[in-house]
Each structure stands twice: as C-alpha cells, then as structure tokens.
Amino acid sequence: MATEFHNLQEMQHTASLVTKVFIQRDYSEGTVCRFQTKFPTELDNRIERALLEQTVKTLNSYYVEAEKVGGQSYLEGCLACATAYIVFLCMETRYEKVLKKISGYIQEQNEKIYAPRGLLLTDPIERGMRVLEISVFEDRGSSGSSPSSSMSSCSTAR
C-alpha cells in the first residue's frame, strides 16, 4: 500500500497526478478560517485518518492564532492607525508572520508524511483560503492505476 518515494522533488518531477481532493471550510463558527476535519473517502487507503486530522487541527489552531482579536491586535491596529498605516510598509503584520509559520509547517508535513504516501498538500493561501487542496499522485505500489476514467466522467458531467 505505501509508496516508496524518496523525497518531495522526486515525486513532483516524475509522478503523475491522479486526482485532487479538496477539504472545505467549516463555517459553523462564523467567518473565522477553519477547515473541516471530516476525512475524505478518496484518501481511505492512502493515509491514516489520525494523521490528516492532526494536520488539519494544527492548521486550524494556527489560523485561530492569526485571527485572534486581542491585546496584540489592538495595539498593532492603534499604532498603525496613528501612523496612517505607513508602519505596515516596514513592519510585518502578525497575520503575515503566522502565515509564514503555516507555510513552513505545510512544507515540513509534506516532506515527512505526505510525500512518502504520494500526496501533496497545497497551502490554503494559494487557493484563496477556501479549500485545503490535497494532490493525489500515482500510487507506485499498486499495479497500473488508470487516472483517466474518473477524470473523463467529471469533464462531461456539466
């Protein structure tokens, strides 16, 4: 079942994409950025549930930290307002700092957990914070997967 990719670069350059799975936003708590922890069935035999859930939960906690309306954000807002927001030209906002952390986290998760299983997470910021995109690559361990059959049914289904 487990594929034997050696590293992320090798997978990106030589594997072929089978499909993409999208984890949607969870709006039950309002407009705060949060992703659903529901496990997509397409990944049933590619990755353990607990791992993906852990990744999504950690990402959600990062977003909560970024969007927290508290003492630091007030201070940042008031200071910026007092300088007519010119300070943002030199200073990085807290949200941007957390986004960098998220980007690093996703890179690390890809290298350690997802690439060895033939999967690739895309940073949600690249998709407008709407979805967490998981690219599913060809499973070398299995014999001759046929990627095109499911795809052609998608494109004709309008």
Binding site: G30, V69, E76, I86, L99, T122, E126, S155, A157, R158
Partner: protein
C-alpha cells in the same frame, strides 16, 4: 530555424481574471473606471489648497499657528486613507481552478441526484449553521465557487469579494474585508476636515468683518474677482459636510451592529422573520473593535503575500482537467 524560448514567470496578479487594473508590480489594485476617483482627489486637494493659500496666513497670524499645522496633518491623513482604500485589494477571492470547479460540480450532482429531463435543477445553495442561524451560501457561476458567508460578487470588478460592503466609485474600488477600516477612517477624517475648514472659514469671515465692517469684507477679501475663493470653499464644504457626516454616521451604525452595507440593503438581518445577525457579538464595543482593530488580512491576489510559491511543476502527463492558465510559466517562442 532555431527557436528561442523566453520563459517569464507570471505574477499572481497577472493571472487574476476580473476587471481590475494593477500598477507598481501588483501593489496597486483598482477598478477600471477611475474618473470619479480623480474627481475626489481633485476636490480634496483643490479645496485644501484654497484653504491653505487664502485662509491660513490670516488665521496663523491672528489666531494661532497651530490651526494650519493641524489642518495639514488632517489633510495628509485623509489623503493617506483615501489612497490606502483605493489602492489595496478589498479581499478578492480568487476563482476556482478547473479541478476545484469540477470537484464542486461532482458534489452538487451527487447531492441533487438525477434530475428528470425537462425539469430545472434545484438552485445551488449550501446551508451552514452559524451561531444557531441558518445561512445560505450561494454558488457563483462566474467564479465557480460557493461564496463564503458575507462574500458577494461585484459585477463592476467581476470578482467575488470577501465581506463585501459596496463598490465605491468615489474611491475607484470595492470596499471589502481588507480595506473597510481604511474606508471608514477616510469618511470619518474627511468629515472632520470638512467641518474644520468650514468652521475656520466662517471664523475668518467673521473676524475680518469685525475688523473692517461686514460690507467692506465682502468686497475686499483676497481673490476678489467674480469668484471669491472663500465662498467657493464655503459652498463646497457645506455640501460635502452633509453627505460625509451622513455617510460616516451610517457606517458607524453598521459597524456597531457588525453589518455590511450589502446586508443592510438586502435586509438580511432586519425584520422579524429574517433572523438575527449571527456575526454580531451583541456588544457595540466588541463589534467596533473587531471591525476596526481586527487582524489585517493578507492579500491573496497580490504578489506580496507570504507564500509566493506557485503550484509545484508537474513534469509528466497532466490530467485533462488542467488548463493552460494553471501553468506557472508563459513561454514566448521566437523563431529566428
């Protein structure tokens, strides 16, 4: 017969569909029609120039030099807020790439089941529950996404904008999640500036007439051609004042309720049978703090976002879903 391939990586904002114009390598993002924005700039700069040129010398000497200094600071703040509102990304949601669009289509079809031919398929709506209130998420046929709550599609800019307030022709841009606080500060400080200029204009006229007698004041004040500049100032300020103070008051009301202009116009949360606003904290101070002092969201469209990496290049066969727009590189082939 040799071909030279020049590959240039397309910036994120260059790939963005929609009717926006960009400048300064994607740092400036505006709507296409900018005429009224130039008018706004002209009115503000023109009025303030008249004030500084004709009123301030007298006021600085006879009252206090702090008056023009404060006016300059206020003027600079107004211009900064105007430019910030006009030039920043309002919170544009990028359109779904083909794979995502197809995935959503498949989900919709799975949910609808088989529709008998001849019958219209049901409207594409997703219901989510937010704070015990059912909110309907509508599907955007242009952007091919289910719009997040509070997002709306601007037909002028042809983009879905998050927390869409309205499209303001005076600033030449949409007002949305990312630039609402700058817009509000712009209206607030412009009201203050207008009141300030209006008040000191009257003070100036009164002081001169006390010095010289009223009738001679009407004749002798500077700029005495058919157009007396201070009367132009008074007129412009008078009309601007009412509209700006009204607008600021309206937006203060909206902020205290944590509503957008769009929701207010549509009457989403007013009326008994419509339900309560699920985004409001039921506390005016908390609502104001969230809107004005909340986190500053990153721009998804502009190059300056913290994750500038594009999709990892897929060297081998791509599935039929991928379209040329998803490629990170454009190649221009020159034949020699």
């Amino acid at each position: 017969m040799s071909a030279v391939m020049i590959t240039r990586k397309l910036r994120k904002w260059e790939k963005l569909p929609g009717k926006n114009t960009f400048c300064c390598d994607g740092r400036v993002m505006m709507a296409r029609q900018k005429g009224i924005f130039y008018l706004t700039l002209f009115l503000i700069i023109g009025t303030c120039s008249l004030f500084f040129a004709f009123e301030c010398p007298y006021l600085a000497v006879h009252l206090s030099p702090a008056i023009p200094v404060f006016a300059v600071l206020l003027f600079l703040f107004v211009i900064a807020m105007l430019l910030r509102t006009s030039f920043s990304d309002p919170g544009v949601l990028p359109r779904a790439l083909p794979e995502e669009a197809n995935f959503i289509e498949m989900e919709i079809e799975a949910a609808n089941g088989s529709v008998p031919s001849g019958q219209r398929p049901p409207p594409r709506i997703r219901n989510v529950q937010i704070n015990n209130q059912i909110v309907k998420l509508k599907y955007c046929y242009t952007c091919k996404i289910f719009r997040p709550p509070r997002a709306s599609h601007c037909s002028i800019c042809d983009n879905c904008v998050d927390r869409f307030d309205h499209h303001c022709p005076w600033v030449g841009n949409c007002v949305g999640k990312r630039n609402y606080r700058y817009f509000y500060l712009f209206t607030l400080t412009l009201s203050l500036l207008t009141i300030y200029i209006f008040a000191f204009n009257i003070v100036h006229v009164v002081m001169r007439s006390v010095d010289q007698g009223f009738l001679s004041t009407l004749k002798e004040t500077p700029g005495t051609y058919p157009f007396k500049y201070e009367y132009i100032l008074l007129l412009v300020c008078f009309f601007t004042l009412w509209s700006m103070v009204g607008l600021t008051g309206f937006h203060t009301y909206l902020i205290s309720l944590n509503q957008t202009t769009n929701e207010d116009i549509k009457g989403s949360w007013s009326g008994k049978n419509r339900g309560q606003n699920p985004y409001s904290h039921k506390n005016i101070v908390k609502n104001c703090c969230e809107v004005l002092c909340g986190p500053t969201y990153p721009s998804i469209a502009a190059e300056k976002s913290s994750a500038p990496k594009d999709d990892p290049p897929l060297a081998a066969k791509l599935p039929p879903l991928a379209s040329p727009e998803t490629d990170a590189e454009t190649s221009i082939v020159k034949n020699q």
